[in-house]
C-alpha cells in the first residue's frame, strides 16, 4: 500500500530521486526553494511529468514513462493541499468538500468538516473564512477524495504563527485517520520535526539525506545542506501543573521543565523541541542560576564535525536531547561518554510553537 516514487528530469528543474513512503507514514520533504520539492509533489499528483519516472501507489501504477503509462490527475486518487489552498471561490465550504467526492453526500461532507474543526461553517464561502479556516477546508477537501496519497504543499506558510500552532495540533490529531502515505513539503525545520516521522532533505533535485526525523535533525551534515545550524531534538514530557506566574511545569524522565504559555491540560503528553545550541552543560548540578530548567542525564556520545563545535547526545531516561558546545569547552570539561551531566535550558528559549501533542492522543 506504499507510495513508491522514482523520478528523473533535466528541465525546467533538475530532478533525480527515488523514495518510498509507507501507509500512515508522514514524510517531510525539506529543502531550499528551487530544490525541487514542489516539482516532485506535482509529479506525484500528475500536474507535471518528469522525463523519466515511475510512480505507484498501493501497487497501482500512476506513471511509468518506460511503459508509456500516464494516469491523468483526475484518475489518480490523490489528495492535494495547495500552498494557497486553491479553494473554489464560488462554492461554500461544504460544496468544496462535496466537489471532491465520487458520490456527493452532504452528511459525509459535514462529518469531514467536523473532523477538521469546521463545525457550523459549512455554508460559508472561502472569502468569509479566515486563513486557518480556509486551510482546514482545503484539508477536508483533500480527505473527501479518499486519497491513496495525501500531498501537503507548504500548507502552513500562509497563516500567522498563532494559527499555525493550532493547525499543527490538528494535523497531529488527524494522523490516526490518515491511513495513506502522506508527504509534507516544507522549509520550516520546526514544522518538519513536529509533524514528520521521516525526513528527506532535498538539494538541487537530489535527496541528499533521508531518515527518521530525530536522526536527520541530529545530523549536522544533513542540516548544513539546508544552511541551518538548528540541530534539535524532541523531548517527551507530561504537563504537570499551570503555575500562577504564567509558566507551566512539565515533567520529563529525570526532572521538570518550566515553559511559558503551554495551553494543554495537566496529564497531556507533549513533545518539546529543544534546539541544541540553546543548551548549556554542567558536570555538577549548578545553583544560583537564572535558568529554570536543569535536567540530569548521561552522555551517550560526542559527535565531532568539521567546525569548532561538537554535538553532545544526552540520555534523559529513555529519551535523548542534543547540546551544541565548542570543542574547546568539551575538552576543558573532560566530557566522556557514560558520564553523568546536567543540561540547562532557559524557559524562554523554547518557542510556543515548538511544543506539540503526541499523535496518538485524541
Amino acid at each position: 500500500m506504499a507510495l513508491e516514487v522514482m523520478a528523473r528530469a533535466r528541465a525546467p528543474i533538475p530532478l533525480d530521486v527515488a523514495f518510498r513512503v509507507e501507509p500512515g507514514e508522514l514524510l517531510a520533504l525539506v529543502g531550499h526553494s528551487g530544490s525541487g520539492k514542489t516539482t516532485l509533489l506535482r509529479s506525484i499528483a500528475g500536474l507535471w511529468r518528469p522525463e523519466t519516472a515511475r510512480i505507484s501507489v498501493a501497487g497501482k501504477i500512476w506513471l511509468d514513462t518506460v511503459a508509456r503509462l500516464d494516469l491523468p490527475t483526475h484518475r489518480r486518487r490523490v489528495g492535494m493541499v495547495f500552498q494557497n489552498y486553491a479553494l473554489f471561490p464560488h462554492m461554500t465550504a461544504a460544496q468544496n468538500v462535496l466537489a471532491a467526492m465520487d458520490r456527493p453526500d452532504r452528511i459525509e461532507a459535514e462529518r469531514i468538516l467536523d473532523l477538521v474543526n469546521l463545525h457550523g461553517l459549512a455554508d460559508r464561502k472561502p472569502a468569509q473564512l479566515s486563513g486557518g479556516q480556509q486551510q482546514r477546508v482545503a484539508v477536508a477537501r483533500a480527505l473527501a477524495r479518499r486519497p491513496q496519497a495525501l500531498l501537503l504543499d507548504e500548507p502552513f506558510s500562509a497563516v500567522d504563527r498563532a494559527t499555525r500552532e493550532k493547525l499543527y495540533g490538528e494535523i497531529i490529531g488527524l494522523r490516526r485517520h490518515l491511513a495513506m502515505p502522506v508527504i509534507l513539503v516544507t522549509h520550516d525545520m520546526n514544522e518538519a520535526q513536529l509533524l514528520a516521522d521521516r525526513m528527506a532533505v532535498m538539494e538541487k533535485g537530489h535527496i541528499v539525506h533521508e531518515g527518521l526525523t530525530a536522526d536527520v535533525m541530529a545530523d549536522r551534515e544533513a542540516l548544513r545542506a539546508l544552511g541551518i545550524r538548528e540541530v534539535a531534538a524532541m523531548l517527551p514530557a507530561v504537563v504537570a501543573e499551570h503555575l500562577p506566574t504564567g509558566l507551566t511545569r512539565l515533567d520529563v524522565a529525570t526532572g521538570a521543565l518550566f515553559l511559558p504559555g503551554v495551553a494543554s491540560p495537566p496529564g497531556t503528553r507533549l513533545r518539546v523541541r529543544i534546539i541544541a545550541h540553546e543548551v548549556i552543560l554542567s558536570k555538577l548540578r549548578p545553583e544560583g542560576l537564572s535558568a529554570q530548567n536543569i535536567i540530569a542525564g548521561r552522555i551517550a556520545q560526542i559527535v565531532e564535525g568539521k567546525g569548532p563545535a561538537v554535538t553532545v547526545h544526552i540520555t534523559i531516561g529513555e529519551d535523548e536531547i542534543l547540546a551544541r558546545i565548542t570543542r574547546r569547552a568539551a575538552e576543558q570539561m573532560g566530557l566522556q561518554p557514560g558520564e553523568p551531566i546536567h543540561a540547562i535550558l532557559k524557559s524562554m528559549s523554547v518557542a510556543r510553537d515548538h511544543v506539540a501533542r503526541f499523535p496518538d492522543q485524541g
Binding site: G46, H74, R77, V78, H90, A99, A100, R145
Partner: protein
C-alpha cells in the same frame, strides 16, 4: 418606427451571440490556458476587425461570399440560396466582425482563474469537462457575460459592414441602423429620432443589466 428593422436587428444580434458563445468559450479558453506556436498570430487575427474600416472588411467578405467564390458556391449548392445580400450572410459577417468583442473578454475571464484552482479541480477527480462546467465556467462567467453583452450591443449598432454585405433589403438585411440612415437620407428626422432613441434605450438597458449582474457575481465571490 420601422418595427421590421428593429426585429431584424434583434434577431441578428441574438444569432450572433448564440454562435459566438460556444466559440468564445472554446477559443477564449484555449488562448488563456494554452501556449502554442502561432498564438500571437491567432490573437492578432481575432483583433483585426477592431482596427480595419468596416468598408475594407465588408469588401473582403463580399468577395469571399460572392457567387463566384468557393465559399459562395458551396453555400449555394448546400442551401440553394446566395450568401451575400441575405440574412444568413449577415449573420456570418456579424460573427466574424464581433470576434474581438467576444473573444477578448472571454479570454480575460478565463485568465482570471488561478492556475492552482484549475489544478485543484483535477486533483478533486474532475474530468476536463466536469472541471469546465463546475469550476471554470462559473468563475469565467463575468468575462463571458461581458463578451456576450458587448457582442449583442455592438451588433445592434453595426452599420458599415451590414451595408456592404447585406445591402438594404427590408425584412432580410435592413437593420435598424440602416433604417435610421435611410430616414435621414429622406429627410424624415422625426422617424430617425424615434428609432435612434429606441436604439439608445435598448443598448443602455442591456449594458445596465450587465453591470448589475456582474456586481452580483462580484458579491457572490467575495
Amino acid at each position: 418606427m420601422d418595427w421590421t428593422a428593429l426585429e431584424l436587428s434583434l434577431r441578428l444580434a441574438a444569432w450572433t451571440v448564440a454562435i459566438l458563445l460556444p466559440v468564445s468559450i472554446l477559443l477564449g479558453r484555449t488562448l488563456a490556458f494554452r501556449q502554442f506556436r502561432g498564438k500571437a498570430l491567432v490573437e492578432a487575427l481575432v483583433m483585426l476587425p477592431l482596427v480595419l474600416p468596416p468598408t475594407v472588411f465588408g469588401f473582403y467578405l463580399l468577395v469571399a461570399f460572392g457567387r463566384s467564390s468557393p465559399i459562395g458556391q458551396w453555400w449555394q449548392s448546400v442551401f440553394g440560396s446566395q450568401l451575400v445580400f441575405s440574412f444568413e450572410g449577415l449573420v456570418v459577417a456579424s460573427v466574424i466582425f464581433n470576434l474581438p468583442f467576444a473573444i477578448q473578454p472571454a479570454q480575460r475571464g478565463f485568465e482570471a482563474i488561478a492556475p492552482e484552482v484549475r489544478e485543484a479541480a483535477r486533483c478533486c477527480g474532475m474530468s476536463p469537462l466536469a472541471a469546465l462546467w463546475k469550476v471554470e465556467l462559473p468563475l469565467a462567467w463575468p468575462g463571458l457575460m461581458t463578451a456576450m453583452v458587448l457582442t449583442f450591443a455592438h451588433t445592434l449598432g453595426e452599420f458599415g459592414i451590414v451595408l456592404m454585405v447585406g445591402g438594404s433589403i427590408p425584412g432580410e438585411t435592413k437593420t435598424i441602423a440602416i433604417a435610421i440612415y435611410d430616414r435621414v437620407q429622406s429627410f424624415d428626422d422625426h422617424g430617425a429620432a424615434i428609432m435612434s432613441a429606441t436604439l439608445v434605450a435598448i443598448s443602455l438597458f442591456t449594458i445596465a443589466v450587465t453591470f448589475w449582474l456582474s456586481a452580483r457575481v462580484g458579491r457572490r465571490l467575495s
